[in-house]
């Protein structure tokens, strides 16, 4: 008594055929070019042997243009779950060797199924995109497939983290699926992403451009801000995904993977004192501050090449996962502009969704002045940042390193915008505006009479107001601390605030000024 041999043989034969994707020769050709296949990518992502495939035997649904005679293994997309570390994660990986990874009705159905499963089970989704686009033979069904995937992206947004890898072409409407996820990782050189490429742009407008200019990872990482990470190759892209997953929870009702087993260490770090330049006008590379603040200098920077005047990313402070938002005074004086506001606002909202405490490091002279900024809508964009901070209910700890002026002081998670605790270094300058500007308004008559007195008035104003003590005196900050105490104080503040509860009136959602 045993199962019939033929049945096992048939299963194995079917499996073998599907595992070969578009053909063993095509898979090998990819590997020779240094590219991973769709299944190589999942094998790399998941712990060995933990991949559970969904819909391996799926058949495409096209009965036109000779397609009825063709078999498309797994319909060009491999879907399933597996373990990353000790946590289950859902993923789909498009197979470019099968009809160019084109998206037809079954392909889309499989993606939607795995996303539904991830939603119900509360696990992250990794979306590996490598597709020529819509399967034209399937016509409007293919278009509808994209629509369904987009709807799922939106449906899952805010419940489970979605991370997209753009590992090959991602053209036209297809680009909107990764765009709707939380993070996009794009592989340098082998991937491109655009709504209209150079040929269509030229046909429609006469503008000449290159693919590097409109569709490359470099363009999206630096100019458009469409993506969050650039990878050197497939393996690096998946390493970034795994690193990112190590900081974030599986869903919105879980806590991020804090490590609270170590005892709180309250040692001072004299190295932090040494980072502060004597001349308050000279910049601090805020990444040096962050490296001293987080455990093992291990900081995953998000959008490192976009709007470099603000730095955002993930780290742990004595085991507690945090999202850090910091003005970078070494770039554009740390002034907040349109791109910096958008970058910070989106990051803050991600942290809030997934219960990740926010640590804000303030060192900014203000919002960037300029015609381009005003006409570009710095009011609307800057308001996103104010909105995101104000709406965030996770623990919010702010450290004012140095400059904190005017609206930018408020925007960088001031106490008034809901910071739970605010620390300031003795170098903090918290004021409504800079001394030069303030004195011109306050002492206009005196200066008109005797322009020579301006210098002394500015010095007096600076001595009195460019300090943390005016704000401390009004109860706007929790305490003034030495830079060397920062890591210890922030670590303690985070532990104390971790159990924070904040309830607000029920509503569909606020109306963030998009």
């Amino acid at each position: 008594m045993a199962i019939k041999k033929e049945l096992i043989e048939e299963l194995e034969a079917r499996r073998e055929k599907v595992l070969a994707g578009g053909g063993k020769d095509k898979l090998e050709a990819r590997r020779k070019k240094g590219l991973m296949t769709a299944r190589d990518r999942l094998d790399n992502l998941f712990q060995s042997g933990t991949f559970m495939e969904f819909g391996m035997h799926a058949q495409h649904a096209c009965h036109n243009f000779g397609m009825e005679k063709k078999e498309l293994p797994a319909d060009g997309v491999v879907t399933g779950t597996g373990y990353v570390g000790d946590r289950p994660v859902a993923a789909y990986s498009e197979d470019f060797t099968v009809a160019g990874g084109s998206l037809g009705a079954m392909h889309a159905h499989k993606i939607c199924e795995i996303m539904d499963y991830a939603l119900q089970s509360g696990m992250p989704v990794v979306c590996i995109n490598d597709s020529g686009g819509a399967r034209i033979q399937e016509g409007v069904e293919s278009l509808s497939g994209y629509g369904k995937v987009f709807f799922k992206n939106v449906y899952l947004s805010g419940v489970v983290p979605q991370i997209a890898v753009i590992a090959g072409p991602c053209a036209g409407g297809a680009a909107y699926s990764p765009a709707l996820t939380d993070f996009q990782v794009m592989v340098k050189d082998q991937a491109n992403m655009f709504i209209t490429g150079p040929e269509v742009i030229f046909a429609a407008t006469g503008q000449k451009c290159t693919m590097a200019e409109v569709g490359s990872a470099a363009a999206h990482a630096t100019i458009s801000g469409n993506i969050h990470f650039v990878a050197d190759n497939d393996a690096h892209a998946l390493a970034i995904v795994k690193k990112l997953l190590s900081f974030i929870p599986s869903n919105n009702i879980m806590d991020p993977p804090h490590d609270l087993t170590q005892p709180l260490v309250l040692d001072e770090d004299p190295g932090m004192d040494e980072l502060v330049p004597e001349d308050s006008k000279n910049p601090i590379n805020v990444k040096d501050v962050i490296a001293r603040l987080v455990d093992n200098a291990d900081f995953l920077e998000v959008q490192m090449d976009f709007a470099k005047n603000i730095v955002v990313g993930f780290g742990r402070i004595q085991g507690i996962v945090v999202g850090i938002i910091a003005n970078q005074s070494a770039v554009k004086a740390g002034a907040i502009d349109i791109d910096a506001s958008d970058k910070a606002a989106r990051f803050i909202r991600f942290c809030n969704i997934f219960n990740i405490p926010i640590v804000t490091l303030v060192d900014t002279g203000g919002f960037l002045p300029g015609v381009a900024q005003e006409r570009g809508g710095i009011i609307r964009h800057g308001a996103k940042m104010l909105f995101a901070y104000g709406a965030a209910t996770v623990p919010k700890i702010t450290v004012i390193l140095r400059k904190a002026y005017g609206g930018a002081y408020l925007a960088m998670c001031s106490q008034d915008l809901g910071a739970d605790l605010v620390f300031a270094w003795p170098t903090a300058e918290i004021a409504v505006m800079g001394a030069e500007g303030a004195v011109k308004i306050l002492y206009k008559r005196e200066i008109d009479k005797d322009p020579a007195c301006a210098e002394k008035l500015i010095a007096d104003y600076r001595a009195k107001f460019a300090s943390p003590y005016q704000a401390a005196g009004k109860g706007l900050i929790t305490d003034v601390i030495r830079p060397s105490q920062t890591r210890a104080m922030v670590a303690m503040a985070l532990r104390n605030t971790l159990s924070k509860r904040e309830t607000r009136p029920p509503k569909k959602h606020g109306n963030i000024p998009l």
Binding site: A212, S216, T222, I223, D232, D279, A291, G334
Partner: protein, 129 residues
């Protein structure tokens, strides 16, 4: 610096342990380089027209101001050979000094601004040959 408590024959000693390099200088405790590396990229060149201010003569070798401000100092001299990353000028804006660095090796061919000059974003400050 790491603190250890050592017990010898029932006597307790609290000692501090510090890693030193070959010259005997302390090695910073938070130096452990993470195995994971991130990749940084530069923006690809654009074939679209540059904004008017930048269009003046922002050719190759032009070193431009990253933001509008006032020149504090010129930190290089005509004819000086500079390496990539060398500080060439200091611009003050937003109550902060912004240092302007060479993006490649070269020789300072022109210095187009002087201290106290007001400059626009994208304005050429120095050219390298």
């Amino acid at each position: 610096m790491k603190k250890l408590r050592i017990t010898v024959d029932g006597k307790v000693f609290d000692v501090s342990v510090e890693s030193l390099d070959e010259q005997g200088n302390p090695v910073a405790s938070q130096q452990a380089a993470p195995a994971f590396q991130q990749t940084s990229v530069a923006p690809p060149p654009s074939s679209a027209a540059k904004p008017a201010a930048a269009a003046v003569s922002a050719g190759p070798g032009s070193v431009t101001s990253p933001l509008a401000g006032r020149i504090v100092s010129i930190d290089c001299q005509l004819g000086q050979k500079v390496a990539s990353g060398a500080q060439l000028a200091t611009v003050e804006a937003m109550k902060m000094n912004t240092f302007v660095f060479a993006e490649r090796d070269g020789t300072v061919a022109e210095i187009l601004v002087s201290p106290a000059d007001v400059v626009e974003e994208g304005q050429v400050l120095v050219t390298l040959s």
